[in-house]
Symmetry: C2
Subunit: 314 residues, 2 copies
């Protein structure tokens, strides 16, 4: 038996056929064109799933179930998506509508949660019973796996690690709250910090790198300049690593997983990021001398969405 | 069959016989006298356990297992206590030594974790599958129950919710770190805030309440003055409720339990505390309009240690 995994994004829909071990047998994709409304998008998802099955040389009889990763708020128990800004969805009964196209069990969960499951089945967290996955991108997404299973909490609103609070009366977040971790540990935050530093230090490498056009500063700009030893960029990056470590320490002191995997744009910094974060965490860890979570880079990349969604029903 | 629960404190050892439902059949206690070293303390714990069995009119054949709540760091898997400041213990093989006195299965866990289990078996969190217990005392202790079982993490260092970080470069904590939640949400923190306020506002009710002797300010002093409507005390208490709510919101956004139970000294403020905290949490919650954890007062009081320890092996 195989599993269908669907990675539903605001721009593209990707679907794949995945085996028991989390290996992708084949994959297909199409544009999301969300402006058409949810019914057309879900019809396309179903068509894409059928196409993937056919491309793999299989039939629907070979498929055990369908999993969908959704970039928003959802209830994994009812299969309903109360709201999803990226898709413009409100109270969409995703599972029910998907089953009206393909009569298989349908599982849905948050995209970061799904990516975390992928890492635990076939990526860096493979073999662990408990893991946390963090995606350091526009925001900070979190995926928690406990006892080998996705953990979304009692009401399906858990694992929103980017919205744990790390600073009283801190930076305003898109969620309306102040001081959320993602305002400090996302790629967006690193870019903001880089801009602020370049503004007050026009002599720095970040400023020169973008010829003074500060809107061109990316996370990579700051990281590259820090890697090259620029003192201003190094200070910014060290501070970013501290911010990231603060949230990681809180995850260790509360959830104490076996492994914490870092994915998303900023994780492209590789060992440069890992070393900085590991040093900061080691300074701050509560139980000095006791073993604690390994901090590693995620390895599944863009396939995480398909694999993790497929594995929701395993 | 019954269970023996032992609440090992720095001042007293309490032991009780507990039934399957978490009801205490009888209890006994003795002073800890920790200065005698761990072997004498453990011998006393065993003697106390035998005394409790006898008092209940039972024999050791009626006892399924023994549970011990320890006020420090421990490894629930190995049964070893690496260090416990309150007891002056270093690398004490508690389970092994206890079993040399009474040959029954021995389970050990952190005192706050054990109290959380007690609430979930026989207290306010009864009937829930997932709950978080917070003790607001000298520090902030945390107990996590998931799927009806104590959750201590992969290395036994989890559920230290008082040492999650809520403020960058914040107040220095006893653990050596900065900005730990317990520096803001414990009774100790409320007292510190009360003192600071009374110092700068000698006209306030807190100052008058202790006749200017600020060292006499307790958590109850601040709470009573806030309840009486004193503006300075009210401001302090409102800020305290915000600090407490910040950590609770992070627990909801990460763990999303069914219920969060508040125990320890500050919880004596009752509904006055609950209303203030619930209002703050409601303002800050991420998934507006979705259901989230109920916030309630713990109900087991001083029995939580015995009952929870006993239930570790259920």
């Amino acid at each position: 038996m195989v599993y269908i995994g669907i990675d539903l994004g605001g721009t593209n829909i990707k679907a794949g056929i995945v085996d028991e071990q989390g290996k992708i047998l084949c994959k297909v994709d199409c544009p999301s064109k969300v402006e058409r409304g949810h019914e057309a998008v879900i019809a396309d998802m179903a068509a894409l799933a059928r196409k993937a099955v056919e491309k793999a040389g299989l039939t629907m009889d070979d498929v055990k179930c369908i999993g969908i990763g959704v970039p928003g708020i959802l209830d994994p128990k009812t299969g309903v998506v109360p709201f999803c800004v990226n898709l413009g969805w409100h109270n969409v009964p995703l599972r029910e509508l998907m089953r009206s196209h393909i009569d298989k069990p349908v599982f849905i969960d948050n995209d970061a949660t799904v990516a975390g499951l992928a890492e635990s089945v076939a990526g860096i967290s493979k073999g662990s019973q408990s893991s946390v996955f963090l995606t350091l991108g526009t925001g900070v997404g979190g995926g928690i796996v406990i006892n080998g299973k996705v953990y979304s909490g009692a009401h399906g609103v858990g694992s929103e690690l980017g919205h744990t609070i790390v600073e009283f009366d801190g930076e305003l977040c898109n969620c309306g709250n102040h001081g959320c971790w993602e305002r400090y540990a996302s790629a967006t935050a690193l870019i903001r910090m880089g801009k602020e530093a370049a503004e007050s230090h026009p002599e720095c490498m970040i400023y020169r790198h973008v010829n003074g056009n500060l809107d061109r500063i990316s996370a990579k700009t700051v990281i590259d300049c820090a890697k090259a030893g620029d003192p201003v960029a190094s200070t910014v990056f060290k501070r970013y690593a501290y911010y990231l470590a603060v949230g990681i320490v809180s995850i260790i002191n509360s959830l104490d997983p076996e492994i914490i995997a870092l994915g998303g744009g900023v994780s492209a910094a590789g060992d440069f990021l890992l070393n900085a974060v590991r040093n900061e965490v080691n300074e701050m860890i509560f139980y000095k001398g006791m073993p604690y979570a390994r901090i590693e880079l995620a390895t599944m990349g863009n396939d995480a969405g398909i694999v993790g969604a497929a594995m929701l029903g395993r």
